[in-house]
């Protein structure tokens, strides 16, 4: 029997294989950031251990960096200590760091691919659940906890039980690909399979609905695999993948030789079997808007908020979850999504803050003004994205429309820096999690695509971007 792409990568990274137990797998790339690493470095120091492969380890700071003027000191003392701690740890252990003043600084999952650090067929880990993003390049990319960060730093390996393979086929053609985006595809998937639908699996996204997507769109899809509970999500590499990574700052010197091997090997065999399967037809899907407090609580922009009964399909626990969500979100069943008024807009995060996201959003913004009731901000995913966008004049489009144009970082996706919602504020956000308090205590998050967020900024409420001319 043939193998899936995931199984091929798994098999080629086994250091020690064990049946019905975790196996030891080798890690090709380790990305480190300031929040989940300090305790890991402390552990190394306590045990007098060193970093086994500093040459496979790259660090940046993204989670709690301010997105305002970088020349000013960081006011939050605890953030400042965490950032300084990472600087010291990288220095002490010989790790390359893209610090606050580096042109390569940015969200770890944006800079990895952009710098050619992410590679097809590689195993990549980071102490962050959205590491799944790198799966867009046909890598096995896993989010890990701090103990595993320490383990990988010390040994360049990790113990892991082999996940199951889950095939998600995305079939068909979107009628308006500028209005119905990769974000809408992945939210539709999570709405259907649920936030635990992928637990214990590695998802491989397949089908013409996936191969049609650009690399940046594929990253949006793989990024949210964790929101379906999956251990990782990946997409077989193709010519788009190979082109994207060519000529980046850290693209390997023998790149073309590597591409030849990848082209031949990195695909699921025709006779491979997946342990789980789901198909989404995208010909008629609509832009998606989340209404609740997990990413599965999502509906079409043209729909109304479901009742807890409709949402839960007879499951008493899910029903209770939906009731609690509606209470937290201060929303009522039956309210039309397009009648929901918002007062904040966040275009950013490792899900949707790449150049293409900003280009698409700018088309909606151009010549318009942010609604007077709305405060809107753009936080580019990396300093490099910011620079490229500025070279294209996108910053002017956003600033002219009264958007704030910020420095790169995770920002209001999780609000560890000063960018947070105030209690009761309602935000159209291009990020990945609408959990209670995620963007600020008492804040209410609606997950949408960049074009939907941009359109909501102008109108002060959600609108169906399929009605706009986005070409």
């Amino acid at each position: 029997m043939g193998k899936t792409l995931f199984e091929k990568i798994w098999d080629s990274h086994l250091v020690e294989e064990k049946q019905n137990e975790p196996s030891l797998i080798y890690i090709d790339r380790h990305l480190v950031h300031e929040v989940t690493s300090p305790q890991a470095f402390d552990g190394l120091r306590m045990n007098n251990r060193k970093v086994r492969r500093p040459d496979l380890t790259i660090a940046t700071m993204d989670h709690n960096v301010p997105t305002t003027d970088r020349s000013l000191p960081i006011l939050d003392q605890t953030s400042s200590i965490q950032i300084k701690t990472l600087e010291k740890n990288c220095k002490d252990f010989g790790i390359t760091l893209f610090g606050m003043d580096s042109p390569n600084q940015g969200i770890v999952h944006v800079i990895g691919p952009q710098l050619g650090i992410t590679l097809p067929g590689a195993t990549i880990v980071c102490g962050d659940s959205h590491t799944s993003t790198h799966g867009a390049f046909g890598a096995l990319a896993l989010g890990i906890g701090t103990s595993d960060v320490e383990h990988v730093l010390a040994s360049q390996t990790m113990w892991l039980e082999k996940p199951k393979s889950f095939e998600i086929r995305v079939e068909g053609k979107r009628k308006n690909p500028h209005a119905v985006t990769a974000k809408d595809i992945v939210l539709s998937i999570i709405k259907n399979i649920g936030t635990g639908g992928g637990t214990g699996t590695v998802i491989e996204y397949r089908g013409d609905g996936i191969t049609d997507l650009s690399m940046e769109q594929r990253m949006t899809i793989c990024n949210m695999s964790i929101e379906a509970g999956a251990r990782a999500g990946l997409i077989a590499p193709d010519e788009k993948t190979f082109d994207y990574l060519r000529d980046r700052e850290f693209t390997p010197k023998n790149y073309d030789t590597l591409v030849d091997t990848w082209r031949e090997n990195l695909k699921t065999d025709d006779d491979a079997k997946f342990e789980k399967q789901f198909t989404l037809h995208i010909d008629d899907i609509a832009p998606q808007v989340s209404w609740g407090t997990n990413p599965g609580m999502t509906c079409d922009v043209t729909e109304s908020i479901p009742s807890p009964d409709e949402y839960s399909n007879g499951d008493a626990n899910q029903k209770k979850g939906a009731e609690k969500a509606l209470q937290y979100m201060d929303l009522k069943s039956g309210t039309s999504i397009m009648d929901i008024k918002i007062n904040r807009v966040f275009i950013g995060s490792c899900t949707n803050a790449r150049l293409e996201d900003l280009v698409e959003a700018s088309k909606v913004i151009q010549g318009n003004k942010v609604s007077s009731d709305v405060q809107a901000m753009v936080v580019p995913g990396s300093q490099m994205v910011k620079k490229q966008a500025e070279e294209m004049g996108l910053d002017k489009i956003f600033i002219d429309a009264n958007f704030e144009w910020r420095e790169a970082g995770c920002s209001m996706c999780l609000g560890m820096n000063p960018d947070i919602l105030s209690p009761g504020e309602r935000c159209a956000s291009t990020s990945n999690r609408n959990f209670e308090g995620r963007q600020g205590n008492g804040g209410r998050t609606h997950l949408v695509s960049p074009v939907m967020a941009a359109a909501a900024a102008i109108n002060g409420h959600f609108v169906d971007v399929r009605e706009m001319d986005l070409n």
Binding site: P38, T96, G127, H151, A154, G196, K324, M416, P423
Partner: protein, 194 residues
């Protein structure tokens, strides 16, 4: 890591599904650079109101559950962020066991690195355990939960069980495979980053 010891305790029923790690430890407390002291931040936004006074309706604030070592929750516990701070907070607060119908993968894995035992049981059994008002006894070696009226067995893979019972250091074990790691590196075709 300390070896896991059997637990005798009343249970704390947290009757909610999809409890995410943002709720277990909100992000404002992730800026600390040590592992200790996270217990006071556990379920912070549910436990305390905006003036940081305890809320009246959250289960952890009910005096009858004080000192409980067993948390019982709904489906998909620990979903979302990979933050291991969630495990540190549960342990620092006093929990040594979490029971739920299912757990999110990264949270589940993080538990074993710190000696917190996650037990996954059938939905119906979880619901019946949530009703228990007398202390229950959990024996990891025998894989048995004893209540005043019943004995329930639970599954755990033998490797994870051993790690907990012996309090093993993962990294020290891996270092015993040093030769294999070096051998793997010799044959690897993946180039360095730099």
């Amino acid at each position: 890591m300390e070896p896991f010891e059997n637990v005798q305790s009343i249970v704390t029923p947290l009757d909610m599904v999809n409890v995410d790690t943002d709720q277990i430890v909100p992000k404002q407390f992730l800026k600390l650079v040590q592992k200790s002291g996270f217990g006071k931040f556990l379920f912070f936004n549910w436990r305390f109101d905006e003036n940081e006074n305890p809320t009246s309706d959250f289960v952890l604030n009910d005096s009858k559950y004080q000192g409980s070592k067993i948390l019982i929750a709904g489906d998909n516990f620990g979903c979302g962020s990979s933050r291991e701070h969630a495990v540190w907070a549960l342990q620092d607060y006093g929990f040594s066991i979490v029971i739920a119908p299912s757990f999110a993968d990264i949270f589940f894995s993080n538990c074993f690195k710190n000696g917190l035992l996650p037990i996954s049981l059938d939905q119906k059994i979880v619901e019946s355990l949530q009703q228990e008002t007398s202390p229950i006894h959990i024996d990891l070696e025998k894989q048995i939960i004893k209540t005043s009226t019943q004995e329930i067995s639970f599954e755990i893979d033998s490797h994870k069980k051993k790690i907990l019972l012996e309090g093993l250091d993962d990294i020290a074990q891996t270092f015993q495979l040093e030769d294999k790691i070096t051998e793997f590196e010799k044959n690897s075709t993946v180039p360095s980053v730099l």
